[in-house]
Amino acid sequence: MRIVVEWFGQLRDDVRCVREEIEAPGSSLLEIYEALESSRHLSLPASLLRVALDGEIVDWDRRPADGSQVVFLPPVGGG
């Protein structure tokens, strides 16, 4: 299953990429993030993040479909 991941903030700096299509390394969003955290050397644990799937903020146990858009949201800092 392939998904599209868009990166922001500190995680964008980690991966040096804005948006990419990847083969999902897991089935739930949490599994996918934890696999990427290890393989891509991400500097933030899932416990500090929220996650969005196809334009909605969702729980980490949700499972993306083929072609889903996923965003791992670092702690925000607006204003």
């Binding site: 903030g9 500190q10 969005a52 965003v71 949201l73 670092p74 925000v76 800092g77």
Partner: protein
Amino acid sequence: MESFFLLQEAPLDPFALSRGMADPSAGAFVGFEGRIRDRASAGSVKHLEYQAHADLCAKIGTEIVTSSVERFGLRAAAAAHRTGILRPGESAIWIGVLAGHRQEAFPACAWILENIKRELPVWKKEVLADGSGTWIH
């Protein structure tokens, strides 16, 4: 008037935004502008880089301003947030609140700001004069 939320890379025009907040039944208008400081605890600030998830910002930002209208009994509320590279003195955020009286307007403006800071998917990197950068949250 309709409440609204804007996300834009172009500089904010707080005077134009405030002029647009018009309702003859409103006795109070409170505006807030958040600007980039030239000093941080670690040194002189060169600029702040703001990134945002546009679709989620539109949804969450609109929810925040419309919720404030109901919660505080406002005539209208609005907010605008910048993205991109902002230098000291530039406005990163503008908030406008129209209400019958000041007693609703001041707390509503503060409530919108705190909720934007807590919920809006916006990220900022503080870049110092020495070139070092830190994501602020």
